[in-house]
């Protein structure tokens, strides 16, 4: 195809960093981008600066995808989350490079973050078909009734990922939301968005149906009020918001009584349950 001389002169093909909505990778409808620099202040990328309309579109995609994702068997959801881990493993070098560049971590620290993030998907993958056994119940009511309680998905959850660790923090928030059968609209770390964008590309090739995960890059401060007041969002993981924004989100989120949580601790089934409802069913026992 070409000789070694010309290859040495080859120009890199640069990536346009785009949003991930409904399984597609569009630019922001607003046409806006913003500049991301590395830890030394050097230009890295111009990702999309998502608008409230991109958020709206992402919520529509997430809502449409919800019944399919929640209705899939728990075993199937677990396999798909495991597939995400598989796809990430193949891209781990890319994740590591981006984390080194943006967060300024040492290669070994960046590698550790990526490995933990991949392993976290594996961990939550296994929860999909166990959360009901552990946290559901049959209830011994007085009277001739069979009565059971099962955790059920909440619906559409907006995820404000923490600034950093940009990949691991995102997975800590996103994986439990998906494990619970919800669909997600992620607002990526504003300063360090490349991990989220690369994750969207891994997810795009992981048997995850379009719309189950939607990832927006841009300003959390700009999008948070719109997410908080959006009546078709059922829950918010506010871990990535500062206390002022979180309070605003909680006030506006009361309009449709969104389930809003933020987490200090690491992996826990409680993070799955935070975005699940409990459904109790009664039925008479008779002949």
């Amino acid at each position: 195809m070409s000789n070694s001389k010309s290859r040495a002169m080859r120009l890199d093909v640069k990536k346009t960093y785009k949003l991930f909505i409904g399984g597609a990778f569009p630019r922001s409808e607003s046409g806006r981008t913003y500049e991301v620099t590395d830890s030394k202040g050097e230009f890295i990328a111009n990702p999309s600066l998502a608008s409230r309309k991109d958020l709206r579109d992402a919520v529509v995609a997430a809502r449409n995808a919800h019944s399919g994702w929640a209705g899939a068997t728990a075993f199937n959801r677990g396999q798909i989350l495991y597939r995400i881990a598989e796809m990430m493993e193949g891209r781990s070098a890319q994740f590591v490079d981006e984390i080194i560049a943006l967060e300024g971590l040492t290669p070994s620290a960046a590698k550790k973050q990526v490995e933990e993030a991949i392993d976290l998907w594996v961990w939550y993958s296994g929860w999909c078909d166990k959360i009901g056994s552990i946290y559901g119940s049959t209830n011994a009511v007085s009277g001739s009734f069979y009565n059971f309680t099962i955790p059920d998905s909440l619906g559409v959850v907006a995820v404000f990922a923490p600034a950093k660790p940009s990949l691991l923090g995102l997975v800590h928030s996103l994986a439990p939301v998906l494990a619970g059968g919800n669909t997600a609209v992620v607002i990526a770390s504003e300063k360090y968005p490349l991990s989220a964008i690369t994750l969207s590309e891994a997810i795009g090739t992981s048997d995850v149906s379009g719309g189950v995960v939607n990832i927006l890059t841009g300003s959390a401060a700009e999008l948070a009020p719109w997410a908080a007041s959006h009546m078709d969002i059922d829950g918010i993981d506010a871990t990535g918001l500062n206390s002022t924004l979180e309070k605003e989100v909680r006030i506006a989120g009361a309009d449709n009584l969104k389930r809003i949580s933020s987490f200090k601790d690491g992996a826990s089934p409680q993070r799955v349950l935070a975005f699940m409802e409990n459904k109790t069913v009664w039925h008479p026992i008779g002949v």
Partner: protein
């Protein structure tokens, strides 16, 4: 001559109502600082029953301080001993059950048959159930070292005054929290009798504090910095206000709010039991039930037959003196609520729905509304969307299971739903697709302390009852 039931009134002699009630703070009945009172009436007769102390901010402050003192004793007590106090309370409630039942009926207007057979026994059962949890909290599903929140502020409604108290107080105490509770303005009397039970049980001072008042009293509880968690049952509007008030604080919050429950009847339903379920779903407690089956979704091919049966059954409903043991439907709790029901039902007329009301004789005094349903209701009607909180049912037809689910879920609420069919797989399919926290299949309006209760969407946050409800009073690892 026909078989008419002679009046069979339950005796009021068992109840002593004081002319004036004080606040219950720190184990004692104390007068409110401002010296203000309000009255509570019997909604069936409009007679004044008693004057009730009105708690202002400073009184709430005093109650919170007492609860903080009580907490020191209570949270350090051996869990098994805490449990024994709850058992003791449960036993006393059983011993004084008829007294509670009569008093509840007089203050609330609900029939004695319901207070005697449902409200009071279930209230005692809640204390029994939670008593057994007190020394098993590490198994409650929130980790191996669960902690109480501290002082819990509890605000309860007027529709099940004592039962809602039990739903709130029993799990709070079992988990080692102390309580400042505000009963509803129109129904404070059984809570104040419960305060006497706490004294009789020798519950340590300050563990339970009861402050009577109105919305301002409630707001003082919600906004008090010394309160660590709020548990509220009431309207969705007030629930949202509370959610906004506690935003940005460390306070825990659980909410049990409104509903517009769909009661879905398929063509193969056991029709006579279904009719009972419909009646129990919407006319139980005068329809003052957040989880009422207020939307009847009926498969179109059996609508006529079902409604004929329903009409016939409604003609048997006995409206009148709540203390009469044969009364099925008692008084609407307040003039204000009666006006709200009346206004919404009129909107049904003006929006073109067709009204059927049971032919009941309405007593001259008191607040009453006859059992009523509307046909020709569409999803757009106000009576299909808004919670009426009265004995008014909206009938909507459907053709396929998918349509039934779409209509059932087409509401911002998600508290309860019913499904009636003889087919097991259809029950589970329907239950799976309904977005509601409590689903009654071939039954309706059943409650049990072991069964988690609470709503999806705008019907609330969290559960009450069962392990799930208990966990809402514990802080664990997240």
């Amino acid at each position: 001559m026909t078989f008419e039931y002679s009046s069979a009134p339950e005796s009021k002699a068992i109840v002593t109502i004081d002319p004036v009630y004080k606040l219950f703070i720190g184990g004692k009945f104390v007068a409110p600082k401002g010296g203000k009172t309000f009255t509570t009436i019997n909604p069936a007769t409009e007679e004044v029953l008693a004057k009730i102390a009105y708690a202002e901010k400073s009184d709430v402050d005093k109650a919170v301080k007492a609860a903080q003192e009580g907490l020191k004793v209570w949270s350090k007590m051996a869990p098994s001993e805490r449990g024994k106090y709850l058992y003791r309370i449960a036993r006393i409630m059983q011993e004084r059950a008829r007294e509670f039942a009569v008093l509840e009926t007089m203050d609330n207007g609900k029939p004695i048959r319901e207070t005697r057979d449902i409200d009071i026994p279930l209230s005692a059962a809640h204390f029994f159930y939670h008593a057994g949890w007190a020394d098993k909290l590490e198994h409650a599903g929130v980790g191996s070292n669960p902690k109480p929140y501290g002082v819990v502020g509890q605000i309860i409604p007027w529709n099940f005054p004592l039962l809602m108290l039990a739903w709130k107080v029993a799990p709070a105490l079992a988990t080692g929290n102390s309580v400042v509770l505000k009963p509803a303005e129109t129904t404070p009397l059984t809570a104040l009798l419960f305060a006497q039970v706490c004294q009789q049980a020798e519950l340590p001072a300050g563990v339970v504090n009861i402050v009577t008042g109105d919305g301002a009293t409630g707001a003082a509880i919600v906004n008090h910095p010394g309160i660590n968690k709020i548990a509220f049952t009431g309207s969705t509007d007030v629930g949202k206000l509370i959610a906004r008030s506690v935003a940005g604080t460390d306070k825990g919050l659980t909410l049990e709010l409104g509903g517009k429950g769909a009661n879905i009847v398929f063509e193969d339903a056991p029709l006579d039991e279904t009719v009972e379920g419909i009646v129990n779903g919407i006319f139980f407690n005068q329809g003052h039930v957040c989880c009422a089956g207020s939307r009847l979704l009926v498969q179109e091919n059996i609508q006529d037959e079902l409604l004929e049966k329903l009409k016939r059954r409604m003609s048997q409903i006995r409206l009148g003196d709540p203390l009469d043991k044969n009364t099925d439907i008692g008084a609407i709790n307040s003039r204000e609520q009666l006006e709200k029901i009346t206004e919404l039902a009129i909107s049904g007329d003006t929006e073109g729905a067709e009204r059927f009301s049971a032919a009941c004789t309405i007593p001259a005094k008191g607040f009453w509304y006859p059992p009523t349903f509307f046909t020709g209701v569409t999803q757009a009607h106000r009576i299909a969307r808004e919670e009426i909180f009265g004995p008014v049912l909206s009938v909507i037809s459907f053709r396929t299971p998918q349509e039934a689910i779409e209509k059932a879920n087409n509401t911002p609420f998600g508290l309860s739903a019913g499904v009636w069919t003889d087919k097991g797989s259809r029950i589970l399919w329907t239950a799976k697709h309904l977005r509601a926290g409590v689903i009654w299949a071939n039954t309706f309006n059943k409650f049990d302390p072991a069964s988690p209760f609470g709503g999806y969407k705008e019907s609330g946050w969290g559960r009450e009852g069962g392990r799930h409800g208990l966990a809402a009073y514990l802080k664990g690892a997240k």
